[in-house]
Point group: C2
Chain length 243, copies 2
């Protein structure tokens, strides 16, 4: 919860007094035609109302009435390994920080202390994603904008997260393992190709698309910078329009 | 984040105008001695300043300067099974809700979807408590008052939580298995007595006290209602004094 500091109240008091006393002096001058009376009234009014206004502000700051919360959301970025989820999530986080909102970033390294290494079978991945979804919805209930980035290749667990959250926006970074490997050697994909590891999304595990996904970014056609701009515009328009 | 609703601004505008225009009229009367001029100035001032004040308020609501956060805390209630932790935690939660603060309750049933059943060995319990501590500190970083209630019999993991949180208050419900069993049959204790289960705090597992514990409640000498009052008073005095 936020409260006004005394300094905020003082500056606000002065900023209002400037506008208000000038108005009063003009009104008195209109009615009396006397510049001197206008100035005298203005001076006394200034002293009296600086005081009154300050205490009026402090009293209202104690009242919660009409303090409405900016509704939070869960932004869920999904896609095969190395599709750019973490980078994009970090960029969006940084951009939205300008609004001074409460935000929580959830990436695999953020949740590692909470959920120790889980396996890579379909069931294990689904359970892990559902747990992260519970956490995201706990954050959302507390007014925190949550930006999550997880491979989450199975529609079942993503839909579970969607159902658990109130405002859920899914971003799918659409690409293929072949595309992300152009010019790069990623150990994960190399090993999967040689059959040394299994359960790699984009290789032996097929990424399951959902019809409900709000934003699909074809990473071959769009830079992450452009994708960030599109997504931030979408969020500002649909979720943070009161800011 | 909270923003002022238009209705709040309108009511605040009116409440200020009442004080302010009366002041102006008195000042004008003092200087001119004319009740008519005082009323005319007051009327014109009222119309002009209702408008100006409204927009002045809306503009300041966009400014974040001087909006200071009420610092959150983690209240950690510990004690052997059936000592009253959950009940006390719920009572404190309910009492502090009156302050309209952001709060998260963490009890075993709240974290079950996040941390599937863990075991009861020393290591497993310590790991579980550390994970809950990570979660509590994540909540605290986001400005949420967190009220956690867990047996947490080992000083090591409680101290870990303490180190991970900025404002940490530990409440120990001091009692013995024999005391809580007076007039009750708790399956957990009965089974432990018969040697059917192990690792029960208060029976074969000794509860480890800490020298740092902020509040120790001897449940034999104090009702939970009195304990709640003491703890809420402690929190209001030491952590929520600006409210």
């Amino acid at each position: 919860m936020f409260k006004d500091s005394k300094m905020r109240t003082i500056l606000k008091t002065i900023s209002w007094r400037f506008t208000a006393t000038l108005t009063t002096m003009m009104i008195v001058y209109i009615f009396t035609g006397q510049i001197e009376t206008a100035i005298e009234v203005g001076l006394l009014e200034m002293v009296a109302k600086l005081l009154f206004y300050y205490f009026h502000e402090r009293a209202w700051d104690k009242l919660r009435f009409g303090k409405v919360e900016v509704p939070p959301l869960v932004l869920w970025i999904t896609g095969i390994p190395r599709s750019g989820k973490t980078t994009l999530g970090d960029m969006i986080y940084k951009e939205l920080q300008k609004n001074k909102l409460k935000m929580q970033r959830l990436d695999s390294h953020d949740v590692r202390p909470l959920f120790p290494e889980t396996g890579f079978t379909r069931d294990e991945v689904n359970n892990h994603i559902k747990r992260v979804g519970h956490l995201a919805s706990m954050m959302e209930k507390n007014g925190i904008i949550t930006i999550a980035s997880f491979v989450s290749p199975f529609a079942e667990s993503r839909d579970f997260v969607r159902k658990n959250c109130k405002n859920y926006v899914e971003v799918y970074l659409k690409t293929t393992a072949d595309e992300v490997r152009v010019g790069h050697h990623y150990e994960l994909y190399d090993k999967a190709e040689k059959g040394l590891i299994k359960d790699v999304a984009g290789m032996d595990v097929k990424y399951e698309t959902s019809p409900d996904t709000e934003i699909v970014i074809e990473t071959g056609n769009k830079s992450l910078e452009q994708a960030k701009d599109d997504i931030v515009r979408f969020i500002r328009k649909n979720h943070l329009k009161d800011l």
